[in-house]
Subunit: 358 residues, 4 copies
Amino acid sequence: MQEQPVRVAQIGYGYWGPNLARNFHQLPQAALVAVVDARPQALEKAASLYPQIHTTTDFREVLADESIQAVAISTPARTHYDLAKAGLEAGKHVFVEKPLAMDLGQAQELVALAQERGRILMVGHVFEYNPAVRHIKTMLDRGELGEIFYLYSRRVNLGRVQSDINALWSIAPHDVSIALYLLERMPLAVSCQGAACLNGRVEDVIFLTLYFPEDVLSHVHASWLDPSKQRETIVVGSKKMVVYDDVSTEGKIRIYDKGVYRKGDPIYGEFQYKVHSGDILIPRLDMMEPLRNELSDFVDAIRQGRAPLTDGYNGLRVVSVLAAGQLSLDRGGEKVTLQEVLERHRLDPGWLFPSPNP
Amino acid sequence: MQEQPVRVAQIGYGYWGPNLARNFHQLPQAALVAVVDARPQALEKAASLYPQIHTTTDFREVLADESIQAVAISTPARTHYDLAKAGLEAGKHVFVEKPLAMDLGQAQELVALAQERGRILMVGHVFEYNPAVRHIKTMLDRGELGEIFYLYSRRVNLGRVQSDINALWSIAPHDVSIALYLLERMPLAVSCQGAACLNGRVEDVIFLTLYFPEDVLSHVHASWLDPSKQRETIVVGSKKMVVYDDVSTEGKIRIYDKGVYRKGDPIYGEFQYKVHSGDILIPRLDMMEPLRNELSDFVDAIRQGRAPLTDGYNGLRVVSVLAAGQLSLDRGGEKVTLQEVLERHRLDPGWLFPSPNP
Amino acid sequence: MQEQPVRVAQIGYGYWGPNLARNFHQLPQAALVAVVDARPQALEKAASLYPQIHTTTDFREVLADESIQAVAISTPARTHYDLAKAGLEAGKHVFVEKPLAMDLGQAQELVALAQERGRILMVGHVFEYNPAVRHIKTMLDRGELGEIFYLYSRRVNLGRVQSDINALWSIAPHDVSIALYLLERMPLAVSCQGAACLNGRVEDVIFLTLYFPEDVLSHVHASWLDPSKQRETIVVGSKKMVVYDDVSTEGKIRIYDKGVYRKGDPIYGEFQYKVHSGDILIPRLDMMEPLRNELSDFVDAIRQGRAPLTDGYNGLRVVSVLAAGQLSLDRGGEKVTLQEVLERHRLDPGWLFPSPNP
Amino acid sequence: MQEQPVRVAQIGYGYWGPNLARNFHQLPQAALVAVVDARPQALEKAASLYPQIHTTTDFREVLADESIQAVAISTPARTHYDLAKAGLEAGKHVFVEKPLAMDLGQAQELVALAQERGRILMVGHVFEYNPAVRHIKTMLDRGELGEIFYLYSRRVNLGRVQSDINALWSIAPHDVSIALYLLERMPLAVSCQGAACLNGRVEDVIFLTLYFPEDVLSHVHASWLDPSKQRETIVVGSKKMVVYDDVSTEGKIRIYDKGVYRKGDPIYGEFQYKVHSGDILIPRLDMMEPLRNELSDFVDAIRQGRAPLTDGYNGLRVVSVLAAGQLSLDRGGEKVTLQEVLERHRLDPGWLFPSPNP
């Protein structure tokens, strides 16, 4: 295991990049050594906060600097593939914000490249490091929710209007990542409805349905054209139900001791369904910043030579679902099987699940 | 115009019927004269509250009683068609709870029959009589919301589990009715996703998307398998946005002076989208019980010889959307055009919009 | 034990009386036989709902009717004493709404009279029959909250403006009753601040502090001049804290596993206080209507010849606190001891606690 | 007017001091040049964020440094007087956190000293710089609320347990400052009830009533021993009512178009009070950080040679109310007139209102 802090360059210092930089700066096992951004004003801000680091508008300087082990990419989604590829080819470990790429073929190429070069490729699916999501996962693992019936997310707000990528690629990756993490399965098929309200080309709002095996459904409503900020995921189990409300000020998670059970004679008579309704529990959660957990995993994975939780395969799985969703959108909401998407890109289904560790 | 109160028989005295009966009893322009239900206990309850009325388990007694002008049907949805048809054939005016029928052909038959007999046929789409929905409609009529981008409803709860009809036919009629009322248009196509979690046959949860002309989208999430009661409709306009939260204790409607406007040169440059965010208004609404408004309209329509707001055509429009939704469900979520549904049932599109008054 | 239903006359059929009448009508062990009110319109309403009962504007008819065993008085507070006294003197069991009387001497007289005549005297402190308050009481009895530090209530609204009695006598009796019930102790002293905003004579808003033994404080904020309806009681214990929010739509009670504990060496050093913050529990409560519980206790007490929970002594205790509060108000907020109030009215302190059962 | 940034030393770098330092660092018209704290770890933190500044454990270094024009004191309340006095005597402008001092005589001495030396003395009553409080003040100034009936604040939480100063001096200064700012009057008298739950000496919870002229009441509930964080101020006017909820996530202020008006004949008959209940408005407020507004006022006042809003006189007024509250607490909740407190300290009432500017 490496003793020295991992030397990291932050690529992109706009909306989210400063949060990455701050965490790399604070993590004892990492050292923020450079920030790259095309805009001089962004670099000035970075320099005033971290006077000791190198700032540059030229990504190649970082690639050429052999003392830099890792790059963290937080740039517009359309640039993820090119930058991550350049990073891996220069021998860097690469952290890239979600989505891993805007195209399934490119995502696959990045995963293959990382494996070939023996470098860590990680994607920023930060909710898998969120204490609330983790708490639900633990409950699922222990069977406390019973059988999962369905789950859904709503992630809407007014703002961060995008004119190049739609709400599916911009917002929904969080919810796809949460669903795959919680269910530990890939959907068989996907359908996606959307409306391009503002400019007629880019969907500002989408509704995404994932069809999982055993008739389990997951649904996502994502939009940047909504009156109030809502960030919630509801998981409906046969024994308990959980509401994760990320904007709640008193407890992010409410666990409902509620369910429906069958009553009556299954042979001679009709079943009757009875509702059970018990207490509600708001568990105390760790206050750890999810982003800090995430970036710790990145640098620890580098130091320990292991895969991080949200590795390239994880990113690939999410992109494959988004690609199916996009195909559905393109076809006016038609249901699209994962199978079709994988065949289109000649992607080995074995790559998707389970995650082979490098 | 008729001077005497309209003499009404209430058919079905289970979950919702008592509310209809109470309102008919209280309305000065109506007289509740009989209650019909197959269960003697239900009749006992009715008799103890309204000792002066006739109670019977035999619907035919009511049909045969020429002094009874109108019947109000609040029975399981699968019986709506038969009972409404019998009522109309006996020369009664008929109020029937939503949905008008479980089949588009049957719904059409009822409308034709009412027209032929010169009787009022009305369906209980109670939200079109709700002061909150009316307030939004008035704002739309005045152009206060600007252009409508999209709207969506969530109507979920734990309870009232049905094992014969699914959430589409049981819960979503409210939201379809609201959407058609607000937009004054029919959707071009419909898609519906759902999961039959409990018994594998009947969908406990559905997600319904209506595609309206000009790329306007409406979405409904309906379920009886959710941890907490949510009843909300959000309307997103270009100038303002409205949240109608029916379970809110302080004001059902919040009007957000929020929107997105374009900035920049449409010819040479890219548009930029700016968010405008102003005050929120919670208007005071009339406290009138929607059901009272609705039943007033029924008896007034009878007395005045005019169509009520939610007449048979209105009910037919809602059933045609539900039928398209069911076809989509049956086909695994595929998008289904209204056109196809109308042709299947050889339904004259002219019947759907606008509503010809009898 | 009496086998027949207790025959009850309802005195006063205005704002609250109809709720009493409805419950007496529905309780199997009671029979509503008469309603008295000075206003003919009120009697008409009662008669239309309960055609079989006797209605009259003359209370003496009820007093003279030997078949009537009990009267339930729900009239303006200033008339409670006269009506309850007349009822007891006519040999009736008497239920009277809170407060028992507007004067401590009169309250004492009623209790003595009931004892002398061997009749039940009960006061309508309905929150002692509320499942939420009962739940807190059970937790206190089991020591689950630890040591009680303090508790406070806020009961405010806009409406029900009174111009003859102030918020102390009109609203605060509920909170005084809750505090005495939970703590099972009498306060040593009372202070009360208030403002007569509307007419300069009657306090629309009051702040009442009860000083209990061992430095336990209870505080009440009562007002009919507030923008939104708030009804809450917070109990702060050393181990847990409870919020009872009566207007909450999702669970009336929240139990916080929170507290402050001392750390450090009590001899050599300063204590340090550490905050413990754990889960929040929203327990499922029985849905029983508190008023039904209360009136059941009244008629059961009559049939079983035992004291009800909120008997005359209970009412006397609350009135003694209100009397001290009024004296404090009259003296501009000065602290007033219970001792002084008792001596003023030559009230035997033994009457106050514990409650001697008849 | 001074052209150069005001050179400021931050005294105390514990809980709140870092926020002051950050704002001084960011304000263009100020320069943070030194941080003083007794704890080396605190200084290390400051040095890592602001490498260019001087850090020291010795306050005298700052006093002796003639290039430093101003000191900002954010230390335990018991040290405010000594440190502010030393600062003024060394010729510095002084910003001191609330309360100005723990004793009215000392507060008076500081004001006199500042006046004598011609230096700015300012106290950190930050809510007078809060956009929500400012909005209410503007409404009051315009008469939009009508006549003020009463106002009250609740500022409770679990945490920040103090063992040397009570909740009156630690938490309530905010609410006293808000009340004086909004009403622009001094109370005639004060009463204060409290309980020292944890250590028997220091009140963890207090209820404070301020009696203003014309029967206007203000009430404060302050505690660090409560299950959930509540920070609210409600202002009840004859025309409108305002709720300022500082922990609300959707709008800090709700303006209720609600009131009570008199109806009826004032000569021959009784008045009747009718409730008016209209819309609720949640106005959009500026997002400016109150602390930034406050510290801007401090440095601008220095540069422009004028008094800041929350000058020494303002601080003196708040301390005089707190001193009266403390006297009331010491006397078991007795009502204490401001007159008595002023005479005790031989304080010229003219100093209290209006504020003479230096």
